[in-house]
Structures are given as structure tokens and as C-alpha cells.
Symmetry: C2
Subunit: 408 residues, 2 copies
């Protein structure tokens, strides 16, 4: 590769999205690339020519190690959707103009569904206009909902956070067992796909029974059946812990958090999804008189890098690295996928896959991994997900908290 490269981060951050930037940087430098630029706030910032030179942070290998331990998007993220090409050629030309200005030959973009659409649009435009620049997508999403790839970098660490926190909550909730039952409802992210909520099942083991029920958005939520289940559990257990996806909805399509109250709408007109656990806990308290608790894992499930999965960190690094290798081989309009080659021991390789088959497609939890009664996950799911949460990377603790790498 003769020119320079640029890497950007887009969409909701994950605990390991920075490892992918580290992977891009390491591979490019190995190939002798002169400048590895970072887009400041994704393609939105890039369109305003906001970039940084990653040598400034990563030339010393200790910088790479710190970056791997830093949550959120080190470069800054954005939620910018490229407009359709027709009638907006100026936006596309602007991207290429800035790339040419900095002699950028390849653009790497870390993100989920929407971000892969950006890669698709840019590579389509390049193909249609006979431009030589290349575009490769680097998968990233805690939601684990990208197709083709076995799983998505970011998911393993979120799943490890969820499984670990769930174990801690289950122990905590059980401490008052001598009194009457306490019902704890834990709300987990995932509007359409239940992958994150499913990870609550990974808390199961010889020292933990796991949540008593898990409700995914893949199944219609039946309020009566839920209340029956809670009553049944509370009749035989002093501690009941239930995991629910923020995206659970009833038969008519309304989200559970919308029932019985007016749902706040933010300044952008989006429904504020949170409040499912609070709503269900209140309903249980009212109908049963039991003591209840509502817990929301909130943004910590994507930001808790102190508890990241080493497997996830390494794979996030790998997809960033292999995106550069693919681009160096002349590939464009591709996303790097993770391909599982074995389970025992777990092995995973990568390949480059046509972005058109990936952008804007959403993968849900397969029906056969949800138990027949719809309230738990099968062992096949656990077999799939367990390797993704394995291993730890020790944070660098300074003054009692993990040290992060921060852009100047």
C-alpha cells in the first residue's frame, strides 16, 4: 500500500471498539504505511476534515495497550447516515476530496448495521465513478445482530459484564432469604434482538442457578403468563431474579415500557425505551404485595472495559488488523467477518465478505436456542456464547481506578 489510511468509529460504543483501531494501526504500520489517521467523530467529523494522527498516541506500544483498556470511542463516534447518492453527489465528492488531500488510499469504518451501510455507499460510489480508494468495514456492536459473521466484536465483553453482574445480583438478592420473597427484575439492552439479554443465561454454573426466567424480544410478551410465572416462582423460592430485554413487547406490538403510562419522547422524537423493569416491578408489587427491585444495566453494559473479555479484545484487534490486510490485497466494499472453525478448543478465523449482504440486515436469536416455554436459553446458546466471554485483560490501575487513553 503506497498511500495513507484512515479509521473511523461509528454508532454506539463498545468496550472493545478501540481494540479495532489498535488493530488497524498495528497492521498498517507493519505494512509500512506512512500515516494512519483517525476520524474525529466518524464520517460526520471527517466531512469537516477533522482527523488526528494516531502516531501521536500509539507509536509507543504502551499506547496500544492503554487503548485496548479504554472504553467508549477513543476517536469519537457519530450517528450520521450517508444520504442516498442521487442528488447528494456533493457529500460523496467531499469524502473523496478529503481522502485525496491527505493521500488516503483506504478507509476503515468500525460499526454496526448503519455504519456498514456507509461502507457500502462509499464503495458503490467509488465503483460507479471509477475511483481507486478502497473501503472495508470492521464489525462492532454489542447487539451481536450483524449477519454472516459468527458473532460481533463488542458482544463478548457486554455478555461477560451481563453474566458477571447477574451473578452478583443473584447473590445479593438471595441474602435476605429468611423473609418473604424478593422479586428482582433486571432490564438489559437490545431493542429487536435478544442477544444481550440471552447472555444472562451465562451466569448459570455450579455456583449459580442463573436467572429464574429470561424474556427476549424475539418472543411476544404475555403479561398474564409473566405474572403467573412470577407467582409460581415466588411460591417456591425466596429470591426470584428475572432478566428482561428492554425491547419486550406484547401481541399488538406495543413495548412493555409503554403500557400503563405515557412514554417520554426525546427531542428527536424517539421513544425513551427504558423503564421496562420499573414498570414490571411495580406491577408485580401491586398484584402480589411482594417486595420488588428494578435494575437497569444501562450504558455500563457497553462501557465496562474493566471487565472486558480477552477473547473479544483480541478478536476486535484481529478484525481491525485483517481489514487492513484485505485492503492491501486490493479488496473493497467488504466487511471482515469472524468465522468459527472449532468449539473444543474454540477457534476463530476471519474473512472478507461482500458488504451488500451485510449492511442493513439484522440477525436475531434463533428460535431453536430459546426454550419451548420462551423463558430461557438452551445449552446450545450457552455453547455458542461461552467462548466469547473467556479470558481477561488486567486494567492498568492508577490511584485505584483503571487508566484510560484520552484524545487531546
Amino acid at each position: 500500500m503506497k498511500g495513507n489510511v484512515v479509521v473511523g468509529q461509528s454508532g454506539g460504543p463498545t468496550a472493545v471498539i478501540n481494540s479495532s483501531v489498535a488493530g488497524v494501526y498495528a497492521a498498517a504500520k507493519k505494512l509500512g504505511v506512512n500515516k494512519v489517521y483517525g476520524m474525529v467523530h466518524g464520517i460526520e467529523g471527517f466531512l469537516e476534515d477533522k482527523i488526528c494522527d494516531l502516531d501521536e498516541y500509539l507509536a509507543d506500544e504502551a499506547g496500544i495497550e492503554l487503548l485496548k483498556r479504554t472504553p467508549s470511542a477513543f476517536l469519537g463516534s457519530c450517528r450520521f447516515k450517508m444520504p442516498k447518492i442521487e442528488g447528494h453527489e456533493d457529500v460523496y465528492e467531499k469524502v473523496f476530496e478529503i481522502m485525496e488531500k491527505h493521500d488516503i488510499e483506504c478507509l476503515f469504518y468500525c460499526g454496526g448495521n448503519d455504519s456498514m451501510d456507509t461502507v457500502k455507499m462509499l464503495s458503490d460510489y467509488a465503483a460507479a465513478h471509477n475511483k481507486s480508494q478502497r473501503f472495508v468495514g470492521v464489525p462492532k456492536t454489542i447487539d451481536n445482530d450483524l449477519p454472516i459473521t459468527d458473532h460481533c466484536p463488542g458482544y463478548g465483553s457486554a455478555a461477560k459484564y451481563i453474566a458477571t453482574s447477574m451473578k452478583e445480583i443473584i447473590r445479593d438478592n438471595a441474602s435476605f432469604g429468611a423473609q418473604k420473597p424478593i422479586v428482582c427484575i433486571v432490564e438489559i439492552m437490545g431493542r429487536n434482538a435478544g442477544w444481550l439479554t440471552a447472555a444472562a443465561a451465562l451466569s448459570r454454573g455450579s455456583d449459580c442457578e442463573g436467572p429464574d426466567a429470561i424474556y427476549l424480544p424475539e418472543k411476544v410478551f404475555d403479561m398474564d403468563a409473566f405474572m403467573e410465572k412470577v407467582k409460581e416462582l415466588a411460591a417456591k423460592k425466596s429470591s426470584v431474579v428475572i432478566a428482561v430485554s428492554e425491547g419486550v413487547h406484547i401481541a399488538d406490538g406495543r413495548y412493555v415500557c409503554e403500557l400503563g403510562r405515557e412514554v417520554a419522547v426525546d427531542a428527536f422524537g424517539h421513544k425513551q425505551m427504558s423503564g421496562t423493569a420499573v414498570m414490571l416491578a411495580q406491577k408485580v408489587a401491586e398484584e402480589t404485595g411482594l417486595k420488588t427491585r428494578a435494575i437497569e444495566f444501562s450504558t455500563l453494559q457497553r462501557a465496562a472495559t474493566h471487565l472486558a473479555s480477552l477473547t473479544d479484545i483480541n478478536e476486535a484487534f484481529q478484525v481491525g488488523h485483517d481489514a487492513v490486510v484485505a485492503a492491501n490485497e486490493g479488496k473493497t466494499g467488504m466487511m471482515i467477518t469472524l468465522d468459527r472453525n472449532g468449539d473444543d478448543p474454540y477457534q476463530c478465523g476471519t474473512s472478507a465478505y461482500d458488504i451488500h449482504a451485510i449492511a442493513n440486515v439484522e440477525r436475531k436469536v434463533p428460535d431453536e436456542w430459546i426454550t419451548a416455554d420462551g423463558t430461557n436459553l438452551t445449552d446450545d446458546y450457552v455453547k455458542y456464547a461461552r467462548p466469547l466471554i473467556m479470558g481477561e485483560l488486567l486494567p492498568l490501575y492508577v490511584n485505584g481506578t483503571p487508566r484510560h487513553l484520552v484524545r487531546k
Copy 2:
């Protein structure tokens, strides 16, 4: 000591309350005590003769190491208040009867204010009725609100969790800086004392500016001043993060979470305190049109043993250990306190202190550690709290999550 001993856990669990049980066990065994019993669900379970033999779990030192890494109350907790002696002599006689049945010479009780009252009542009863059994309190509370002792075991780990999570949230919230400001309100435990919320200030460092404002229950909450502060911050920053105690209240005494909505009351008639962050976030969104987020740290702040402070674990062990030493010297009606002997390097010893000066007394954050405008903590607070969050104890990871020790 010729007889056996028993140890119990009471009140809300902490990340390190089990280390105190380990400390009691280790000290008693060193002294040649035959049986170290655990109360199953505190004094409430003990009154029903529910005990376990700790040899079953801790005779192998690996058991002690696992117990230190286990959140919540290993023995089970309770919220049982001893009745006043007059007219309830039968309850007291029952305690002594069970102690005699198992040849128990000393009783150790790990807990906060209410639990220290149990130690006081039992030792008072023993003194009044010429009984030889001895009672020593082992301090435990994430709230850090016990008097006399420099700080309380449990606080350091909760503070480490809060400081670490706050850093991760601040990074996450900053990722979308290119768009209009996002205001994130984080709700932290502590109904009357602001120690836990103050710990948000420990996120400050060369890689993190810390929360933009911190509101403690020690200061009256002024809604207009709060809204002004938010607007002022949002005018100059793209990411605003604010920590609030669940116990903040306005001038007439009403809690902020009670304003503008009906507060749910649980089956016991207690106000459900949570909802402060949600309420404030909604108010900010309505009045400013800014995007907001509400995060509640929930029970994870007391249960996240995977992120416990090593200093805290060691001190929790120490107070359990030294309670046995004190009882062996014939002391009773005492609580073990932590006495700071130095700051650089930090050093802390213990002593036994009259329980009557401690039970039912609540210590708040001193006024001089709160900044003049009431929205942050001074460096003196940081100097006090920093040593308490230092050090880590690696969890034993099994299948990707921390392994816990669980009672059969």
C-alpha cells in the same frame, strides 16, 4: 477462649462483608477455638437455631480465598431489630439458650447502625443478668456512616465501583461530542449521608475530569439552581455528567424523587426511593430540549466484588479478626473501629470501642469537604477516600465469570 464462637451478618450486604467472616474464622482457629459457627440469616435465623459449621467451607485455605471473592452475605442476612428488653425477656433468653446449647462463648455481628444496636442490647442484657457470654460488633456498611471509626469496611469497594463506573460513563457519554450536548444523570445510593455519591469525585484524574457536578443529601437541593447549572454546563460542554444522591431533597424536606409524581410505596410502607435520576433527566429534557440519560447504579454498587478494593478486603478481614482478639481478651459490648495512623503511606490500625457511643449514631459528610457552591467535593475528601479504594484482588474466573463460594 474455651468455648465456641458464632458470627452473623446483618443488614444490606457489601462486597467485602464475607471477608469479615473469613477474618473471624481465621482468628478463632488460630486461638484454637473448636467450632466457628455461622448464623444463617443473622440473629433472626439464630433465634430459630439456624447455624452452620464454617469448617465445612473454610477448613481449606482456598475456601477462605474464595469467600473473600464472594459478594453478598455468604451466611444470609436479615433486617431484624431486637425488641426492647422489658417485656421481651423471652427473646433474649432464647439467644442465650441457643448459645449455651452450642457452647458458644462469643458472638460476633457484622453490620451497620441497626446491627450495632443488636450487639448493644445483647451485651446490656448479659451485663444486667450476670451472663458471661461476650458480644463484639464488626463494622460493615457501604454507607460509611458509622461514627468513631475512620471509615467503614464496605465503603472502599463501593467507592471503587462508583469511581470506576463513573469514569466509564464519562468516556461513553463523551463519544458523541460532535452532536448537541448529552446530559447524563447518575443516581447513587445513600439516603441521608452522601459518602457514596461523594465517591464519584474519585473519578477525577489526569485522564478524567470527573462529574461536572455532585449533589449530596447533606445540602438542600435547589431545583432552579440545578437547572441553571445544567444549562450553564451544556452551553460550554458537549457532554455533561452529573452525580446525584438518591436522598437529595428540597427545602421543605420532600425528596426530589417525590416531586411531580406519586411515589410508590412498597408492601412495608417504605417509600421507593429510586427514580431521582429519571425524574431529573426528564425535567432537563423538557426544559432544555437536550438529549438526556438516567443511570442508577442500583445494588451493583454493593455487590460488585469483582471490582472490590484490596485495602477494603484486607480491612474487613482485619476487623473480623480483631473482634475475636478483643473477645479473647475478655472485651464485650464493643465494636472494632478502624483508626487511621498515617496518610503517606496510608496506615490503619484497629481498636475496640464502647458500642454505646456507636449504635444508632449516623455520621455525615463534613461540611468542610463540600465545595462552597455545594456541587462538588474538596481535595481533602479525595485525600481521605483515595487510600480506601487502592488495590485489587483478582477474582478466580471460571468459564468467563468470577467464581463464588455458596452455602449448601
